[in-house]
Amino acid sequence: MSLATDHWYDFRDLSNLSRVILEGIDKVAPYELAYIVAPIIGFVAAFVIFVLPSQLYVGVYGERRIIGRIQARRGPNRVGPFGLLQPVADAIKLLQKEALTPKVADKALMWAAPVFFVAPCVLLFAVIPFGPRMVFADVPAGLIFFIGVSGLPVLAAFIAGWSSNNKYSLFGAMRIVAMSVSYEVPLVLMLLCVVVFTNSMSLPAIVEFQRETDLWLIFMQPLAFVVYFIAVSAELNRTPTDIAEAESEIVAGYLTEYSGMRWGLFYGMDIGYALAAAAFASTIFLGGWSMWGLEQWVPPWLIFIAKTHLFYLVFIWTRGTLPRLRVDQLMGFAWKFLLPLAVVNLFLVSLERLWWLEAGLGDGMVFAFAGINIVFSAVAIFLWARFLGYRPESIPTRPRLVQKAGGYVPVEDPPGGGK
């Protein structure tokens, strides 16, 4: 399956190196020590090759540079070469700042909220397969694990907003919980489509499915991918759905009263969760570490990281370009638009799967299914939008032009023709 060998110096599969280290420890020390050393090696490796570079240089520096590019400005460019040390400088600044606590706040909870916010983020990466043998915990129900754990930060954000005892914070807290409850439903239904289609809840198995069929799930389940992207950006508070932190409306939402490194933890972990969602999406929908055979020459973990960052780039892009929806519109979108589509899609996928199993069709069928599903997605989105009364052309988007000043010009009779 892979050209990667078992030599420790073969960096295409970093698990070789850790295995050699662990075997060495096993020979000289009691065997329990390996259990303690293994997570440390995994953590350090993940930290060095993924978390730190992603967090600092894609999440903070890259995001600000790209947003700056979108906004016709330069972004950070003063600290260090090309402003590369800006994230470090920011961290030092945040550490120095005083973390204020309002007098009327619930101090214990306000202190605990950032901690509760950080812990699940670390857990999320445990089930992500970075390579064929590079996964911390091969949990059989890894997909459910991911869904469950990614629901925890919402509680932390709620605690943060509630304990601040500020009206804006409370608004942010209520909004984030409402949003999470709404968008969890289509999200889980769509991931259920993936589970039904691949017949597995284990993330490495889903990657293996995509590698064997030579077709990524984004093509087989395009609707699921779209809904996942929308739902996850709603849960992560990324623009256009960042209503829990909506700066122009409720100042900073649940973070209004936070400052210093307490705020910094929230900020950093927001990026962390976005990266986790991107990693999850590239595992589920973009083929994980597989790349049509390229993984035999290029280290699979590099392919995986590249895909993750590519997905994260889309997050940055939407953040820089789209306005924000109102809270009731966003809720309505989840319940009225995404949920029926998700249910219909689940039904279709189940039928396909059943037919696939009953008729004993070969793996080539996935291409037919991909075609069916792509057409279905496009038709379903269009028709359902029309059915819900989406008429973008009902009122012209250009103003009418008149030559003479006068009174009210009725709409039925636009003088000058109205462009």
Binding site: Q71, T239, I243, P323, D328, L401, K404, A405, Y408
Partner: protein
């Protein structure tokens, strides 16, 4: 059943320190959940007593004050005040001075609408991108102002009887160089925002001002035109020779926030047309008439109004033949446009209230004076 499941309304202070109040302005909003049930405006945080101070200074000394009322459109404010004094004293402005005034006022309208449209997009949540694009063009206009008058924001360029200085040699070249990119930016902004469904659902049918309300509340500028009323002082009561230029009044359909936004964008296009025409037919001659420094207009009163970027900007002056005005009053369009904020916000959500406020395009310096 709804008596059981009920929430208590509570008061929420939006401002005076809030990212979306465009200055130190405060709305005491009573909200029931996300819905605004009452809104009370609190103004006066930026009051500097300009109208009273102006009674102690000569007519020429008052011009810098007008810079500081609507600080996003100082040229228009200078112009309105100078027109009022000229009306009071019966001073004629040479054609070249008038044409320069028109160019400056229209450039100022562009700069101000850049800010207004960008800030409105910011309020709908288009995070900083449109405003930065518009700012890029606004910077070029401010560069031209700096080139001409030496200042970027508070220009103090108009004088009673004309303008302060002759325009520099490369002025025309610079303004013409600005027109093309400005058109592109307007088209970009329009394409990005009016073609965007999220923007449409945020701004369409939000904060609707019916035409009757718009007239009864004495609104002016884009607020009035957005409600479908063709009214522009440049057409209705021309000053500075606006009657020679060919331009159109953009009007909206139903008076919602989107209409006001798109009217502003279209006004920018029309301003560019006026600037082109004014540059083409820029007459020669003096840029200003000689006016005595200690001007003592005959006793009487005068009211001059112009179409400032925000609406009808009026200056009312009473002279008692002294060197300074006996009474100096400004009709600030922002203040009067703001008076319908309660009608616009009550019943909508907090997010809509922010969009409503953004669509008025207020400048707090002008409201509080």
């Amino acid at each position: 059943m709804s008596e059981i499941v009920q929430s208590e309304p509570f008061v929420m202070n939006i401002g005076p320190q809030h990212p979306s109040t465009h200055g130190v302005f405060r709305v005491k909003a009573t909200v029931d959940g996300e819905q605004v049930v009452d809104a009370e405006m609190v103004i006066g945080y930026l009051h500097r007593s300009m109208e009273k101070l102006a009674e102690e200074r000569t007519y020429t000394q008052n011009i810098p004050f007008t810079d500081r009322t609507d600080y996003l459109s100082s040229m228009s404010n200078n112009l309105g005040y100078c027109l009022a004094v000229e009306k009071l004293a019966g001073i004629d402005v040479p054609p070249r001075g008038q044409a320069i005034r028109v160019i400056m006022a229209e450039l100022q309208r562009l700069a101000s609408h850049c800010m207004g449209a960008g800030a409105f997009a910011n309020d709908t949540g288009a995070w900083q991108t449109p405003i930065m694009w518009f700012m890029r063009e606004r910077e070029k206009i401010l560069d031209i102002f700096e080139l001409t008058s030496g200042a970027r924001l508070t220009c103090n360029y108009m004088r009673i009887g004309g303008v302060a200085f002759e325009i520099p040699e490369d002025f025309e070249e610079q303004v013409r160089a600005l027109i093309g990119p400005m058109r592109e930016t307007i088209a970009d902004g329009e394409g990005l925002l009016s073609g965007n469904e999220i923007f449409l659902v945020r701004a369409r049918n939000v904060a609707v001002i019916p035409p009757e309300l718009a007239i009864n509340a004495s609104l002016s500028g884009p607020m009035l035109r957005g409600s479908g009323i063709a009214w522009d002082i440049r057409k209705a009561d021309p000053y500075c020779g606006y009657e020679q230029y060919d331009f159109e009044i953009p009007i909206g359909y139903q008076g919602d926030a989107y209409d006001r936004f798109i009217v502003r964008l279209e006004e920018m296009r029309q301003s560019l047309r006026i600037i082109e025409q004014a540059l083409d037919g820029l007459p020669g001659g003096p840029h200003s008439t000689e006016v005595p420094l200690s001007l003592r207009p005959p006793a009487g009163e005068a009211y001059a109004r112009i179409e400032s970027p925000r609406g009808e900007l009026g200056y009312y002056l009473v002279s008692d033949e002294g060197p300074s005005p006996y009474r100096f009053h400004i009709r600030p369009p922002s203040l009067i446009n703001l008076s319908v904020l309660k009608e616009m916000t009550v019943g909508g959500s907090i997010a809509d209230a922010i969009v409503a406020l953004g669509s008025i395009d207020i400048v707090v310096g002008e409201i509080d004076r």
